[in-house]
Amino acid sequence: MTKHHVSATINGEPAEFLCEAQQTLLDVLRDGLNLTGSKEGCSSGDCGACSVIVDGRVVCSCLMLAVEAEGHAIETIEGLARGTKLHPLQQKFLEHAALQCGFCTPGLLVAAKALLDRNPNPSETETRYWLAGNLCRCTGYDKVIRAVLDAAAELRGA
């Protein structure tokens, strides 16, 4: 089986890996690069737990072949904090108790970051529709939305 050699940027650092054509980016992140923060909830692009940001756009890493990452910049949950300094979204999720089991949380945080990078002042409705692709079964989304809106306010004020 031919392996493809891929060079990409992951969380700001140059990264290289070998992969087979049918492996998804999620497969390689988790199994090849040990970045298990992105989760596999469905493998069909319906739950968002595998969300990563590619060239500034949030995508499902289960819907991308690993080989398609060649030459692109990828941000995962592992890159959201700067060392031990949490991103305001992460801090607000903790303060608002916006996670219960925490499984959907990495995907939600990545998707929320993509939202705030693009729209620093989203309304509740805009936030809900933006995050519709991130399924959460524990929280009913209430505290998640509050945390995102609060983080947006902090980022605007800072």
Partner: protein
């Protein structure tokens, strides 16, 4: 809320959970996240048929495939005795369980496991599965509960004679059990009623739909010692069931709790752990098995679908005089639907002198039902709370006032035997009645619905260990997996009891060899029972700390008290000693007797049940039948909210699941008995844009059975939403929906039919 904050330093506050940072940084390890050196990937062969006899399984080609290290079938698992063990409500039968984990004579549902392989990669494992040759004799199947009860229905078990019927039936059927509860004189009760409503209801099977699929890694060493890393709601139960199914000594198996990505009851049983352990035993290598999303829907246990009939009679003034319910629940492929719970909970919010519930546990060709948040109660609540609403409308009475008039209180005789032990229900009704939103006017095609619900909650065995570190910080170890913030609650209770800062307490979830037996995280029992264990262990530590102080001061231990994190003399008579902090006592521990720690094992009584009352406002699009939830307010008696944010979270989560159950979630089967929608695309759980903010109203009637007054909070909140929404739709467009889910085609058909459902 204010008096709580003044009374306690930590109970009732909202500190950040101690396991939060790993979860928001992606560092926390869930069931699929662990790898071990030499690990193989396990894959499970599943039946494509809803019902078939297994004539033969030939695994030889699979075993011969390069890269395959082990193959298992039911032949590898010891046979188990056919008997129901444990309390009736939660009885297990290992003869059934081993067959659910790996089929023997028959496959009983599409997705039923019948063989498994372990190989060097997923690709090789999948290829090996394709090489397993199974000779099936396909049999007719049955899924709908009423169809399964018919005398000519295909039988899943040729010798199943209904239990609970006297004299026992002579012919076998798919009805595993009949239950009945009776109180008073039903005939006289209905005869005295001014208004009677009798209606029939149907609900579809729904799944807990946790986002994390089941996953585990198992290892088995040459000395017969096994280790399992598993995402579950109870690693002690995983240990017990896996050991049973493999014929192992419990002490030879050690289970580590991975973080768990949701369970809601569905992860209190085992599917992959026994298979992975057996594959590890046969291959000599660690084996990881993670279920695919499709397999989770096809092969793990959803809750029951049902057919129900409820009849309630009331006086003109709203007093309920008689209530009768018949509940038929799908058990799935093996007995054990939660119909008993459904029968017990159905009328429990109310003081009804004459009542009866009859339940049927019916097997059918779909996966074996597993617990789902207050199992059984949401289903019967849909029927009862709908009928009450129809009656309230007939009487022209506010539905909340009607509930208040009949509210069960401490001392009320319950249908299933005991007297209600706690107050709290009436307070939830009052909380909604007094809520400013309850009186806000609505527009055309909008309606407001109310409903209540009841759940027993639970006690059960829990253990906790508390150790004081050399610097006065504290470790609290329990055996309760944290699915909703309970580590924070344990730390709060320990900190409160000790009188030290929350940040100085480190709560962990310990594995089965490192803490005493602890039952599942479920049944709304962790803050209650495990909390009691933590407090008792903490009190033992406090006794020890006082003894160390007494030794230091050379006084009798009776002369030392613990206050605000310090040992101090009980009075000036004892002596004029400076208080000793936990830190100071810890520093001197070697001189006063050595390490400071204690364990407690409990099985507490004093369980307080859960009551919930909720209202929701909906808008119905009369041209499409689409229902939008505009507003949702959920009141619940929580006893005392140890960590209010996580209590609110439970309420919001249960309501969201209830809304999905009400509007769009259902198992859809093809004519061949195959699941048509085994994925999140067509199994439609609520997404963020479907829901409004969900307002949780915490009513606190403290539970004297818990050191801080806590009652279980996790489950009862899912009981009211389905009826609350049905009642709201009725108020909005004058149509009564009696079948779940109330999806747009059903609502539109009801609107277009021009007639309201006639109640008898």
């Amino acid at each position: 809320m204010n008096d709580i904050v003044q009374q306690f330093k930590w109970v009732g506050t909202r500190p950040i959970r101690p396991d939060g940072v790993p979860k928001v940084t992606g560092r926390a390890l869930y069931g699929a996240d662990l790898t071990m050196p030499g690990m193989l990937i396990g894959a499970i062969l599943r039946s494509p048929h809803a019902h078939a006899r297994i004539r033969s399984i030939d695994t030889s080609k699979a075993a011969a495939l390069p890269g395959v290290k082990a193959v298992v079938t039911s032949a590898d698992f010891p046979e188990r005795k056919f008997e129901y063990v444990g309390p009736e409500r939660v009885a297990v039968n290992f003869w059934h369980m081993t067959r659910n984990v790996m089929a023997r004579e028959k496959v009983l549902y599409e997705g039923h496991a019948l063989a498994a392989v372990a190989a060097i990669s997923k690709a090789v494992a999948d290829e090996a599965l394709a090489l397993i040759e199974v000779d099936y004799e396909v049999l007719p199947h049955v899924i709908d509960v009423e169809a399964a009860m018919k005398p000519d229905a295909p039988l899943l078990f040729p010798d199943m004679i209904t239990r609970g019927v006297d004299p026992a039936p002579t012919k076998p059927s798919n009805i595993s059990k009949r239950i009945e509860y009776k109180l008073g004189d039903l005939e006289a009760g209905f005869a005295a009623a001014d208004e009677i409503v009798e209606m029939e209801f149907k609900t579809a099977a729904v799944h807990q739909a946790y986002i994390e699929p089941h996953g585990c890694v198992a290892r088995f060493d040459a000395d017969g010692q096994g280790e399992v890393w598993s995402s579950s709601q109870g690693h002690f139960v995983v240990r017990a069931l896996t050991a049973q199914l493999l014929g192992m000594k419990i002490g030879d198996l050690r289970v580590y709790p991975a973080e768990i990505g949701g369970g809601f009851g569905g992860k209190t049983v085992v599917y992959v752990e026994p298979v992975a352990t057996m594959l590890a035993r046969k291959s000599g290598c660690p084996v990881k098995i993670v279920m695919s999303r499709e397999d989770v829907f096809r092969a793990s246990g959803p809750t029951s679908g049902s057919a129900m009939r409820v009849k309630i009679g009331v006086k003109k003034d709203g007093k309920i005089v008689a209530a009768d319910g018949e509940f038929k629940y799908q058990a799935g492929a093996f007995p054990g639907s939660p119909v008993m719970n459904g029968c017990m909970c159905a009328f429990s919010p109310y003081d009804i002198p004459n009542a009866r519930t009859v339940g049927y546990d019916v097997v059918c060709n779909r996966p074996k039902a597993a617990a789902y948040r207050a199992p059984g109660s949401p289903i019967s609540a849909f029927a009862v709370e709908s009928v009450l609403d129809v009656l309230a409308q007939k009487l022209g009475m506010d539905p909340l006032q009607m509930r208040l008039k009949n509210a069960a209180r401490a001392g009320t005789q319950m249908l299933y035997g005991p007297k209600l032990s706690h107050n709290g229900y009436a307070e939830t009704i009052e909380a909604i009645l007094n809520h400013p939103g309850y009186k806000t006017p609505l527009k055309k095609n909008q309606g407001r619905g109310v409903a209540s619900g009841y759940w027993f909650n639970g006690g059960g065995e829990s253990s906790a260990t508390v150790h004081v570190n050399e610097d006065g910080t504290v470790v609290v170890a329990t055996g309760s997996p944290d699915i909703g913030g309970t580590r924070a609650s344990m730390a709060i209770m320990a900190a409160e009891t000790l009188g030290i800062d929350y940040d100085k307490v480190r709560p962990i979830v310990a594995d089965t060899a490192s803490v005493g037996y602890t039952h599942v995280t479920g049944g709304s029992r962790v803050t209650f029972a495990t909390g009691i264990a933590v407090v008792e262990a903490t009190k033992k530590v406090i006794n020890d700390l006082c003894a160390r102080a007494a030794m230091t001061w050379k006084v009798d231990v009776e002369g030392v008290i613990w206050e605000n994190g310090h040992a101090r003399p009980a009075s000036s008579n004892v002596g004029d000693f400076e208080p000793l902090s936990l830190k100071e006592i810890a520093a001197k521990r070697a001189l006063t007797g050595g390490p400071i720690g204690a364990e407690a094992g409990v099985n507490p009584g004093g369980v307080a049940p859960g009551f919930a009352t909720q209202f929701c406002d909906v808008e119905v699009d009369p041209e499409t039948g689409k229902v939008t939830v505009l507003r949702y307010v959920a009141a619940q008696d929580v006893g005392r909210a140890i960590h209010p944010s996580y209590v609110e979270g439970q309420i919001q989560g249960g309501v969201a699941q209830g809304i999905g159950w009400a509007l769009n979630e259902e198992y859809i089967y093809s004519a061949k008995g195959r699941l048509d929608n085994p994925g999140f695309l067509d199994y439609r759980i609520p997404v963020a844009s479907d829901l409004p903010m969900i307002e949780a109203v915490l009513v606190e009637v403290p539970n004297p059975g818990h050191p801080y007054g806590a009652k279980g909070v996790g489950e009862v909140n899912i009981c009211p939403p389905m009826a609350a929404i049905a009642n709201a739709i009725d108020r909005a467009v004058g149509r009564r929906l009696t079948e779940l889910p109330m999806s747009p085609p059903k609502v539109l058909a009801a609107i277009d039919s021009g007639t309201e459902t006639k109640a008898r």
